[in-house]
Structure formats: C-alpha cells, structure tokens
Symmetry: D2
Subunit: 337 residues, 4 copies
C-alpha cells in the first residue's frame, strides 16, 4: 500500500526503505530537501512542500509522522488543514501519550483518524525490524496493518512461546494494537522505563565488578573515610569485556542490551570515549510519573532515572546541603577530589 | 575426561548427562542412592559411599560439588581427608565467594586445588548449556577446561560480537576464567544481582501497564487518600501477554527473561497461581553487600532486593511505625484493607 | 482584624480559636451547622448559609477556606459569585500548587485576590501554632499578615539561628511569603515530601533494630532461603521505646517526629494497634512529580513514597511477575507465608 | 568518680571537661602531649605515657577510649597488657559493633570488662551533653553509670513523653544500656543510618525548591533532552534560608538537623563554600549491611548512602556503560557539560 512519511531522519528514512523493500510505495517529505532527494533516488516519491506531499497521496491518505516529539504539534498545525475526513495520521515518534489523547480528540473533530505508534529498534530497525506498539481506533489500525506488518520483525524474530502455535496471537508478529489513542505510546513509554532499569542494572553490576580491586588501592585513614573492613576480599582485576561475552551464552541475564554492551566493551574496555553524563529523553520520566500517579511502586525504574540525573550533577545543591550539615554538627571539612 | 560429581539434584544430574553426551565419563555420588542408580542407568559410574566415589576416580582426581551452599563445608569435611595432593575440587553451587577464598586456602595446605564455578542456566542448562564463571589457579582451570567447554553452550550460542573474529576471545565459548579463588562466584554473584534488577524492571513496568486502568476504578474521597488528578489518562485495559510478545521482537528490552515472562503470561495472564512472595537466595544480598563495601552506588540492584523483602512483609514494623506517627501528628486513623 | 472561615473541621475550627485568642474576630461557616453553633458559642459570628457568611464580612472581605482539597473548586464555584473586587480568598488546605496557579488566574478576572497558605502543625497547631507557607500577590499577603502572625508560632518557638538578631528575617516569625500564586503550597508540598522521607528513615532504622534478634530465630535451610552468614552478630533484643527516649536527648536525630514516635511507642511498644498500611494523601506524590519534572534526583523522598504504596500491596502484580519468572527459569516454587 | 581518658581530640577533651564540671576527676592521656598539657591546665591529671596513665588510675580502673575506630585495636594491644582483672575499658568511638563483640570476648579472657558507648552530639556535646548508647555487661554499666549520667544531657533536655512521669524510664536521662557487647554501637550505627536518611530528605527537598525556577531557564530542544512539559509551573525563585526558618517553627519537619541547616544557609545561602562531595564514615554502610543481612528493606537509608557515593563520582564507570549502550542502540552521542 501507499504511505506518506513526514520526517526523513535516520528513523523515518529507514522505515521508508524497509517498507519499499517489502513492496509498499512511499511519498516522502522533509524540510531538508537533501533527505527527500536521497530517498527519491531510492524509489520513493519526493515532495518539496507539505501541500505537494498531501496532493501526491491517494485518498484516504495515510500519513506517518517521524519527527521530534517537540515539533509534532507544529507539524500537525500545518498538516491537518490540508487533510480530509477519513485520512489517518500516525505519530511514530516519542510523544507523551497524553498528547496523543488530546490530539486524537482534536483531529477527530475533522473526521481524521489518529494513530500513535511507539517504535523500538533504534538504528538496527532497518535490518531487524521495528517493534511497534500501536494505539488508536480499530478501523485505522486495520487499515494500516500491512504497513505495521512490514515494519515489524515478524513472528520468526523469536521462537514462539511454549503453548502458542498455529494462528498468530496478538503481538507475535512484532506489532500490537494496544488500545485506544495513547495506548501505543503508553506501552512504549513503559518499555523505555524498563530499558532504563535494565541498563542501570547492567551498569551497576559491571561497576561492582570493575571495583572488585578496591582492596588493592590505598585508603585514607581518617574520620572522613569509611574503612574497608576486608581488603583481602576485594583484590580482583576482572576482564569486563570477557564477562559480558560469557553472560551472553546460556546465562539468565542474556539480552540484546547485553549484546550491545559487549560490543561497546570490545571497542573500548575502559569506555574512555565517554564522560559518564547520561541523557534522558522523556519516556523514563513519564514512566515514573505514571507510577506515582497510579500509586504503584517503581523503585528500580525511578532510581535508574535518578541516577541519570545525578550523572549530570543535578544533585549538586542537595550534596552541598549535606556537606554543610556535616560541617555544622561535626566540624567535618569537606574532602575535595 | 573423567569427572566425579557429588550431588545429583536437578543441576548436578543434568550436568553429568551433558558431559556424557559430549564423550566424558563420570563417577556419580549422592546420599540419595536412587539418584545414583538413575544416573548409573544412564551410563555413569555410581558410588555408594564417598570412599567408594574417591576410590573410583583416576588420579589426579577432579571432583565437582553440586550441593546446597549451606552444606559445602560439611561435604568438604568428609571429602578432603580422602583426597590427595594435586587433586582438584570444584564448587559449582552458589557459594559466597568469601567462603571460596577461605576454602581455597584451607585445602591448599594439603596441596589440593580449589575451583569455584558460578553456574547460570537453570533448568534449561541441559539443552542450552551452562554459562560458567570460574575462579581458581591457572593449572586447575586448564586441567578442567574440557569439562567447562562441554558444559558451556559454546560460541555459537550467540552471534559473535562485532569486531571479534577468528580465535575465540576469553568468555566467548560460554565459560570464563575470571581470576583467583572466589572470582568465579564473585562474577556469578553480580550476575544474579543484575538478574534481580532486570526482573524488577520488567515486573514494575508490567505492573504500571496493569494499573493503567486506575482511572476506571472508584476512589475514596477523603483526607487519607491521594486524589487521582487525571483519571481520563488512566483508562487503558492492556493485554500484558501480548505486550511481552511484541517486545520480544525487535525491541530494546528483548531478553531471555522476557521470553520466560511471556511463557508465564501465556499460561496464566493474571498470575493467579502466585501469591507474590518473592524469595531471595543469597547472591542478591551479597551483591548489595559488595556495592556498599566497595563504596559504589547500586540503587537499582539494592532496591530490587528490598522489594523482595517487602513482598514478604519484612517491612511490617517499619510500616506500623509510620502509621503510628501519622496517628500522632494528624490524628489519622489507619485505613484497613 | 476580621477573618471569614469556611470549613470548621479540626483544622479550621482550631485556627478560628487561635485567632480569637489573639484578639481577632471571625465569621464562621460550615455545611455542618453543629460546627457553626459550637464556634458561635465560643465567640465567633456564625453563618447559616454562604450568602449570610459573605454578608457578615466587612469589605474588602478576607475568606479563608479550610476544606478538603477535593472540594475547593466546588466551594469556589459557590463562593466567588458572592464576592466583590478586592476581596481575598485564602486556600489553607492541601491543594496541589498547580491548582492554585489556575485558580488565582480565574478569580483575578473578577479582581479577587487568591492566596495559598500551606499549613503545617496538625492537631497540635492550636497550642503550638501553625507553620505557614504562603503564596500570592504582595498586597494580599500584607493585608492578611496580622492573621498569619497570630496563627504562626512566633519567633520564640525556636532559638534564633546564630547570626540572626534584631529585626526578624523572613520566615522567622513562623510564616513566610514564599512567592506568587502556588509558591506557598509548593513549599508545603516539599515539606510533606521531606516528612515522608524522615518518617521512613526512622521507620527503617527502628525496623533494623527490631530485627537485630534475627540470629536467634530458626531459619529454613533450602535453596529458596538466603542463609544468615553470621547469626551470632544478630542476637540483640533492644527496647525500642527506650531507644527513642535516648535519641531525643542530645543526639543528631532529635526532632519533633521522634518525639511523636516516642509517644507512640510509650503507649504500644509493638504497635499492635496498627496494621502497617500507610496512607498517602497527595503531597508526597506531587513532590516526586516535581523532582522528575525538574530533573533532580529525589531517591529518598520517592522511595519513601513507594514504600507506602508497597505497604498497601500495590506491588502485588509486580511481585507475582517475579515469582513467575523464578518458577520459569529455576523451577522455584513460591514459598507461602 | 575517676575516669581515665585515652584520646584527647575534640570529642575526648570535651568529655573530660564535661565530667570535671560535674565533679568527676580525670586522668588524661594522648600521644599528643600538648593536648595532655592543655587538659592538665584545666584540672585533669595528665599522663606522659600509657604506663603512667594506668599507674595513676584507682583500681578497679575505668578507661575510656576516644580514638579513631581504625586505631582501637592497636590501642588495645598496648593498653590491655597493662590492665588487671575487673578493670573496665569503654570504647566511646565509632567502632563497628562486630568488633566490639570480638574485643569483649578477647579482653574477657583476662577478666576485663568491655563497654561500647555510641556517642552522639558532635561539637555541641560539651554544652548540650552527649546521647549515649551503651553495650556491655550489667556490672560494668552500673559501675560507669555516674559517668554516663554526667556526660548525657539529662531528662530535662526534652519534655517527658506523654504518659511518662515519676521515676525515669530507661533512656530518659539521655543514656541507655542497650544490651550486651556491641549493642551500644549497633544502636549508634542505626542512629547514624537514620541521620543519613534525614539529611538526604532535607537535601533533596531543598534541591527541589532550589530548582523550582527550571521553567525560567532555556532548554535544548533535541532528542537527547527530555522536554519540560509545563514550564509555567516551574517559575519560582524561593528564599531557601527563609524556608528553613519557617519550618523550624511549628512544622512537622522541625529538628535539630534543620536548625543546623538554617544556620548553614544563614551564613551562605548558595553554599558556595562546598563542592558537594559528601563523605561517609562507616556507620551508614554498616546500617545498610545490617538491613541486607537481616533481610529488612531500608531503601531510604541505603539510597541516602548511595547518593553520597554518587556525589563522589563512584558511579562513573556505571554511567559510562549507560552512555555506551545508548550510543550502540540509538547512535546517541553523549552530551557534554
């Protein structure tokens, strides 16, 4: 079928490529005309303006937005007036699901369908396929299902779960209609929250192994420094790259994130290329907000997020407050680095 | 080569089977003579007593213990006097690595080698192989390497990491000599700590999705109940089993633990077969102890552990203290379930 | 000066009493006419309806709302049409500060001032005074300052901070103009967040002391139970009530919350009167939301909140997920209580 | 009565002064003879050597050690051979309670009593008195009780808890016999753990207020930066020093630590004199170890400890691991400071 793609960054462009490989056609638009020209050279129909883009789409139109979350509303403001009733808009980016709920209502006033498609897979999606978590009304989902099916990795990407056989169950093809507007981005949001937790779990564990040699180092002996009770128990120098390799095979913690960690450590075991300031891009925060608002505990996911904040020194004033208290009650002078 | 196995529970027996399949021979001993008879029927040499077990082993002997951590010392007390210099003992169970350091010193006084082999793979190890994290002296490791190679899944269990080709790097075969005595169990300990963190990450995330319908439920309106600010944002009823399926294919959070979660949810989506009391068996605690003693933060791993404690109501008195404070300062009566 | 009070529950009624003791006059209204009659008997001017209430107030009117956060908007809907430009409304309850921002804008359209006054002090406020955190425009704050001054404990409630002498600095009298609309409830919100953290700190610590006898108890020896490495280190039976008494005198952790804990333990050392289900009433959640949105780590405050959620078993499904995973990979059967 | 004091640092010297003020006599020893001369000038009996110190004490001797935890064992090695059966040693420093258990057994072989006295009060103890948590046998405790009574603040340091009247209950005088050897330092350890939690609670809360102006700052709009959903909700510039003053009077979070925080903010509201590297000195770690070993959750206390570790960048490798993963799966380049 035909899909219109707005936003031809790494994600959008690769999704167009994956669709065309699977026999679909695409109309492609981006403010950056070089990106349009590049994809046109690969077989897509390019468009120089949003008006031209809309004109080149068969009706009812199917428009997929793959733009930064911060510009979705601005893009919709330009796009929606050009569309007709029964057209469908898919937001494939990292929008906050509450924005989906609002937007779906807004465009529904014009008879337009709104679909939110949380997309996981990153730079590997072109070859591996994208895991798609979809929200929106049934009609729109069904209409776009051929697109989802081509973008997704397919059932063969993982062995079928024991007890599942025959006709595919929901989700097994690598895409899932999660529910009404926002449900797709809700599930994608939690997916990323879990990702934060898993990443922190590996990171903390590897840091504990990295510091298993602490007993070999010199320690200050003063009232400001906690003593190391058993230095002889911390005398290991362990090859972290090799550890990730052994865990990749047969262990309970094997995962794709571990594969990627092994790849990073194979290139640079001490990770000297990184400063340790870990960004966060919204979903981890929203997951924590959802946990708090629902009233369910999420200490692992939230602490993973907070560790990222601390890695960027957003805890600085809090730490100064504690040093100041220590100076007050104990006359403790702060130890500098 | 020949290996002696002491302890023929699920893990020990399956390891013997996996070794025999790969051409090794085994002498097998367990207090439970039925377990011995079972394995003897499958080709192992059975032994009725520890003395007979030792007598049937070629020298220098290689003895693998696969017994509960709590009985390793008692087993060693019986076994060591029967062994000779240059024999090797492998502890393949879940010992605390500090016990390895001590035991290695103790048996070294008699010229005996001690190897600690952290083993991951669970009930799937017979078919998938076991991920082996090994500590001990070089000579002993090398002597036992054919055994490790047969027990491990082998390099083909995972695609080789980009940049790794040709001769295998350490760990790629699925077993790794991590360092001197205790290093194997140290790495296995942290492995389990990470496992706790990952499990909690999935569990918390699925719980957030499970409760995405909180806006549909009735809420008390009183001073003891936090208001739900935006009930319309929490109106989703999402199929958790389907979510795990879609994540298994192409997403960043794909993992073996997720595969197992999908299997559990396929059987019983509401997990009614479980009461929610999550056990912990040592390694998660030891990982937290190591983090604290090394002085490295491990909030994710430690909170995952603490959540298990709380699941067993080990926080009861702490909670009563808080309810008591609230009663004191605000006259708040506790809301019962 | 004259103040109108809407809401004569424990907090509102006591605030009227404290104001009258200090020479102010009050017009009092509540839906519950018994509450009105009670206060009228103590010297306040009672009102049978909101209309009568408004009519009895001198202009420009000063109306203090002391009603549950969930009914503030409904109360305003009835009240605001009866008021005139330059009247002032104070919300002294536990509103979310974002609601203050909205309400201040709404009533400003009619020329009415809106003041948010976060109030701490609980059932002890009548005698000890209330700590008041105030938001709103300067004119309204200044107009109401005599009321704040009478409600607050006054500077003598605590020794002046070293270096502060002479004229009172902001906050020293026990009330503070924190900033524009919402600022008062923002500071009160964080105050409660800190309260959660402190309460949990005491509760966790006392629970650790309570369980210092764990080495005296019997332990299962099986693969589902973490071994207690050094039982001889946990053989203490410690009098918790006495511990709180000794900490109240001269220690770094002395506080009013500790005084209250001591009072609770003096009545009931085992706290048998409590079930351990700890309520939360909004501010702790909002504090966590603010931390996440600001991007600053708040692990202590947020984990204190999550522990309350867990105390009410809102982690149940998450725990079942973990038990289910353990059953899958290790064949672990859940241990029941 | 007479007490011998070994270690005349700030704590030891002030304790001698407080004892002498109350009519006791003291023999004072320190390697630093200036410290000895100073106290001798104030009325103590100075000693130039440990031998002389012991010789000047009446039998049975009472020797109080006030030396760094790291040198207690070395001091005991010199001191114990000089003592006789029925003498008593008090360790008033910050020893790990497990060392007390061991030391008590060791000196008991020579008939010597061992008392551990956890001491809180810091630099304010001379005037306010010291909160004393004592472990050891009954006879030794009773013999030293006059010393404890003089060092402690006394019952009048806090209002008696409602329901307590007449004869003093345990702990009310400001010292407490907590149990056998180690019990005093166990309770002091948890006291410090709670202190960490409370300090972090205030610090996190003040940091949230400090950053209530985040909506006024410029934000990058890119895929590496989480969007600020409601900038208009974070536009407050709040006077933190004034906030601590208002909380000190009538609020639920009033405490001595808050008094000290107010003092620090009065001197330096932005705390520019501090770098934010928060030391930890043992007890916070031991508290976490106890929680883990007992199997009781302590997320607040442990996360407070971990935040201190992170303030000293002990999470650096963990953070690099996470940045490396993000680079792998998403092509995310790390944002530098």
């Amino acid at each position: 079928m035909q899909l219109g793609m707005v936003g031809l960054g790494r994600m959008g462009a690769n999704m167009v490529r994956r669709l065309m490989r699977d026999g679909h056609t695409a109309v492609a638009y981006d403010r950056n005309q070089e990106a349009v020209a590049q994809l046109a050279g690969e077989g897509a129909t390019g468009a120089a303006t949003l008006e031209e883009f809309v004109a080149k789409l068969d009706t009812p139109r199917n428009v997929w937005l793959m733009v930064p979350a911060a510009v979705v509303d601005a893009t919709l403001a330009d796009l929606v007036p050009l569309l007709d009733a029964d057209d469908t808009i898919v937001d494939g980016g990292n929008s906050y699901y509450r924005d989906d709920i609002r937007r779906a209502k807004e465009v529904a006033e014009r008879g337009i369908h709104y679909v939110d498609a949380g997309t996981s897979g990153g730079v590997f999606g072109l070859e591996r396929g994208y895991s798609l978590m979809v929200g929106g009304d049934d009609a729109a989902f069904r209409r776009l299902e051929p697109v989802f099916a081509s973008l997704a990795p397919g059932v063969e990407a993982a062995p079928r779960t024991p007890g599942k056989a025959g006709e595919l169950h929901p989700g097994e093809a690598g895409y899932l209609h999660c529910g009404p507007a926002g449900a797709g981005h809700f599930v994608k949001m939690v997916h990323n929250g879990i990702e934060y937790g898993m990443m922190a779990a590996y990171a903390e564990g590897l840091n504990i192994i990295k510091n298993a040699d602490v007993g070999l180092r010199e320690h200050a002996i003063d009232a400001e420094t906690a003593p190391l009770t058993d230095p002889e128990a911390y005398q290991y120098k362990i090859d972290l790259s090799a550890v990730t390799e052994v865990w990749r095979r047969g262990s309970v913690v094997a995962s794709w994130l571990l594969d990627l960690t092994a790849a990073a450590l194979a290139e640079d075991p001490d990770l000297d290329g990184f400063s340790g300031r870990v960004s966060d891009s919204g979903e981890g925060r929203w997951t924590a907000l959802a946990a708090v608002e629902e009233g369910v505990p999420a200490p692992v996911l939230t602490n993973a997020l907070y560790s990222r904040f601390a890695s960027r020194e957003l805890d600085l004033y809090a730490n100064k407050v504690q040093s100041a208290m220590r100076a007050q009650f104990g006359g403790h002078a702060e130890k500098r680095a």
